[in-house]
């Protein structure tokens, strides 16, 4: 049975090749990010060393220190938290209840409206940004955190509605009917039974809405002007827009604004990847 042995050997070679390719792919994916961290830990004289090297010779936190004490990043971080917090809260409240209605009730226009929510997630931000600018200008909301939070609601509302509609679909109607039989009002039934059941899913939805506000650049770039409302993506972009860029500080700032994103996404990775498949997720 030489051929079976041969086949097994071929299989082993093939598996090794697969590992090699995947390792290479993971390296290509992650090396740019490793370079960000490496640069952020280098003192000024090592950053432009020729030839460049990966491991800092004298690793230092001085870039982080200067970003945290002398730059606009801490202020922008706070702005981003507030803007993201307001828009996520409103999106969960309004989009969550709309998603519930789409899932539970039959009403005229239901299908059309829910498709509109799906398609709204694909609107170009460069198209929304111009009317938003004039609308907010008319009511004095330019360069305010509230103004940006409201604009971000245009992104997160459809997202939350569509995602939560899917989650509510997964809860059997019988559970709700039983609760109503036991004398619960609709609000009691929602707050005591449905929402606790969906806690992880709704948390994932909220985190997703928050991150899309945290990362958003195009609209914030137009609606904000000063440090009173500029969010982290804009603050980071300012770092690398100078004629002489301080790459050490820039990469430290990039790391600082990425860490919260990675932490929260790791918490909801499972729900998140499942959501991908149902077409509910925008990058």
């Amino acid at each position: 049975m030489g051929s079976r042995k041969m086949k097994r050997r071929l299989d082993k070679v093939w598996t090794a090749v697969v590992y090699l390719i995947l390792t290479l792919a993971a390296a290509v994916t992650l090396l740019p990010l490793a370079w960000v961290i490496s640069t952020s830990l280098k003192p000024g004289n090592e950053i432009f060393a020729n030839p460049p090297y990966w491991i800092p010779k004298v690793p230092t936190l001085e870039n982080y220190l200067s970003v945290l004490t002398e730059s606009s990043i801490p202020g922008a971080f706070l702005n981003s938290l507030i803007v993201g917090g307001i828009s996520t809260f409103l999106a969960l409240l309004l989009g969550g209840s709309a998603g519930y209605a789409f899932s539970r009730f039959r009403f005229r226009g239901r299908k059309g409206l829910s498709l509109f929510m799906l398609i709204s997630q694909m609107l170009p931000l460069t198209v929304l940004m111009i009317p938003m600018y004039y609308m907010e200008n008319a009511v004095g909301l330019i360069d305010t955190k509230l103004g940006l939070a409201i604009a971000h609601l245009a992104i997160s509302m459809p997202l939350v509605t569509w995602m939560s509609k899917g989650y509510f679909n997964g809860i059997p109607k019988e559970i709700e009917e039983a609760a109503v039989m036991d004398g619960c009002t609709t609000l009691q039934m929602l707050s005591r039974i449905v929402i606790p059941l969906l806690k992880p899913a709704l948390a994932a939805t909220g985190i997703y809405a928050f991150i899309s506000s945290w990362n958003e650049f195009a609209i914030a770039n137009v609606l904000t002007r000063s440090t009173t409302s500029r969010t982290v993506p804009l603050a980071l972009n300012e770092f690398s827009s100078f004629y002489r860029v301080d790459w050490g500080d820039t990469m430290a700032a990039a790391t600082i604004i990425t860490i919260p994103v990675i932490i929260v996404f790791m918490l909801v990775q499972k729900q998140f990847v499942e959501g991908l498949a149902s077409g509910a997720v925008k990058g």
Partner: protein, 290 residues
């Protein structure tokens, strides 16, 4: 039955859905109406004076528009095709039977996908830089190039550079989508195919590819929409230099220089193009849902 009378379900739905609909009307429907009406006005800012199609005609006559369309086509095809192929191949490899560390690879690639776009763009700006950037250094030490290439500022390389970054950024999404699709395929099919003596290519050709058709379409349409809509990556890396001005950059540039008539007309053009693919996408998602 009275058409205007609300059914029992509709009465229950109203308190849940009305606030959300009002917000959607104010933040999405009204802005869309607003931009369209701007594009048909003689004075777009004040939305006064009906201009008919004049803003569109002068946009079409402007050579910048033709160039932007050309750039958008190059950018879109240049990013969507490689991102899809690379992501698909990686998904096939990662789902190979008996592979260990599957979860580790997937998590690593997932991490790369969720990094904020601005961070990705800034990181690559640093990698592509001419004064001691990593990419120039690697290529020079491998002997592929002799002198540094000004990647982001040269007319010949700027588009290629941002395409590389977008492919790098989007391939992980395709991989995640396709692995989700592959996991739904039943192993029975493969086992019976193996019993019939089908090799890996035959299995790929007759089982994997046909059954993944829908999820592939969804992926490709999503990539198309993202490519057409992409703004921050291109803006941050090349500041919208001429050779990388896609349609969304054109909209922004015209808005920046206060050429609002032209900005609103090009925005509506972008909206139309995006919506063609978005509608196709929605059709596929519904088909999957049912």
């Amino acid at each position: 039955m009275n058409r205007l009378r609300l059914t029992k379900d509709e009465k229950k739905a109203i308190p849940f859905i009305l606030p959300g609909l009002l917000v959607t009307a104010l933040l999405i429907v009204y802005p869309l109406y607003y931009i369209v009406s701007m594009s048909f006005s003689e004075n777009a800012i004040s939305r006064s004076g009906f201009a008919g199609m004049d803003n569109y005609f002068s946009l079409f006559r402007n050579p910048m528009f033709g160039a932007a369309i050309e750039n958008t086509v190059v950018w879109t095809i240049g990013t969507v095709v490689p991102a899809f192929l690379i992501g698909f191949i990686l998904a096939l490899l990662i789902e190979k039977k008996g592979l260990k560390m599957k979860g580790v690879f997937r998590s690593l690639i997932f991490v790369a996908w969720i990094i904020p776009g601005v961070v990705k763009a800034t990181a690559w700006k640093w990698l592509f830089t001419t004064d001691g950037g990593m990419i120039n250094h690697i290529l020079m030490s491998l002997g592929i190039i002799r002198t540094e290439i000004p990647w982001l500022t040269s007319p010949n390389f700027a588009m290629l550079s941002i395409i590389i970054v977008q492919v790098w950024a989007c391939a992980p999404y395709v991989m995640l989508m396709m692995t989700a699709g592959l996991q739904q395929l039943s192993t029975d099919l493969y086992e019976s195919a193996e019993l019939d003596g089908a090799g890996w290519f035959k299995k790929l050709r007759y089982i994997t590819v046909p059954l993944l058709k829908d999820v592939s379409f969804i992926c490709i349409l999503m990539l198309l929409v993202w490519a057409i809509n992409e703004f921050s990556l291109i803006f941050i890396m090349t500041s919208g230099g001429q050779d990388t001005t896609t349609l969304s950059l054109l909209v922004y540039n015209q808005f920046e220089v206060l050429n609002i008539n032209s900005a609103s007309a090009s925005a509506v053009m972008q909206l139309i193009i995006t919506m063609i693919f978005a509608v196709l996408y929605v059709k596929f998602v519904i088909k999957e849902d049912e």
